[in-house]
Symmetry: C2
Subunit: 233 residues, 2 copies
């Protein structure tokens, strides 16, 4: 699978996120009509990403947000109780979205190498498709309250475990070398993260997400595959 195919399968999900945000946080919102709520939430989310990408969430004022969305301050506060809660809402929804999408890939293959490839590919492609969410989650995590930050760390460990479990399974089947799988999983996550943290570099060097992903896979396979293992398709 390449990115273009991935996008066809999961691109539609992006348009549903605002709706999910509404349904989950309906209780805290003063807006009753779903249609207007969802439409405005979409504006709010994309405005937040656009403003905070350059200067961070703390530096974004509610007046900035009002200007960018074209909504008044008063209107904004009908959608969330406060700025801090807005941060938490976005972070929570981002985690749910990532977790759900990745879990669909977990059982798609049997062979450990196929599993590993699929897991890595899915994560990088997903981070490309929802880049603002990924970048935001990472950069603004420390502005969360302790409970929120713990959730971020738990998520990091969750995705790490998906990888280390595959490596473990592969070792048992003689596909992968033995070694410190936890640490290897950390390395893989670092490589995945590079893609959305330093996007300016890859845009500048004209490196596509497919080229990047292939390179990551080559590197990981070069390190993990047992010596007597032929590179199956």
């Amino acid at each position: 699978m390449n990115y273009s195919e991935f996008k066809k399968l999961y691109g539609a999900r992006g348009r549903d996120i605002a709706k999910e945000v509404y349904l989950v946080n309906q209780g805290a919102m003063r807006i009753k009509k779903e249609k207007t709520a969802v439409a405005n939430l979409e504006k709010i989310l994309s405005a937040v990403f656009s403003i905070t990408y350059k200067k961070g969430f703390q530096a974004m004022s509610m007046r900035d947000l009002s200007l960018k969305t074209g909504m008044s301050l008063g209107a904004l506060y009908a959608y969330f109780p406060g700025k801090e809660e807005l941060l938490a809402i976005i972070q929570d929804q981002g985690r749910v979205m990532v977790k759900e999408t990745l879990s669909r890939f977990a059982r798609a293959h049997d062979h450990p190498l196929e599993k590993l490839r699929a897991a890595i590919r899915a994560h990088i492609y997903l981070s490309e498709l929802f880049r603002p969410w990924f970048y935001f989650t990472f950069m603004e995590a420390r502005n969360l309250k302790p409970a929120g930050f713990e959730a971020v760390k738990a998520m990091e460990e969750h995705t790490q475990k998906i990888l280390s479990d595959i490596l473990e399974l592969g070792e048992e089947q003689g596909v992968f070398k033995s070694g410190n799988h936890e640490l290897t999983a950390c390395m893989i996550k670092a490589l995945q993260q590079e893609w959305y943290l330093k996007r300016w570099k890859y845009t500048k060097q004209k490196i596509t997400v497919d080229a990047f992903t292939d390179h990551v896979l080559e590197m990981v396979e070069g390190f993990c595959l047992a010596d007597d293992n032929t590179l199956t398709p």
Copy 2:
């Protein structure tokens, strides 16, 4: 070389940084006595790192800084013209320090593999020794004015080129495989960066900087070394 040896060689440098900051920015400071200036700059720097690690530079108020340093607001403004300039001073000094230290490693070895190992090791060890500086540089880069941000990107490309040049040289000498060396250098940088960006994870998993570095080297060598190349010491 392991981290403990590295620290003996370069640990002293840490105590000189405040002095360098003073000498470089002397013109903009109202303090004339070097001794008091350096002592207070040390307090200021460590206070900034301690406060911003948790909530970021934007969220740190000058009153926070005043409280942590034990200096008054008025006194602080004798050391730098404004909060924005303080950010720039720290970023600039951090870059100079890293660049100088790394350049000492560039010509220390002849064999490409030795060069590569030394370059990777030095960078990770340095990021451990000056962790607050590295973390700060990455996380607060986007709060800089355009010129400052360009300098950060230039630095990133500079350290990337050190690596890709070594890979290039190694390919010519038949030590390393051919391939996209630019992209490989990016991967290496991503792995190095992981160490100071997600320190909480490695503290929790009780992974030392030496164990981490060795794992990075294994991974990189597994990918870069030409097949017929024996792993020289």
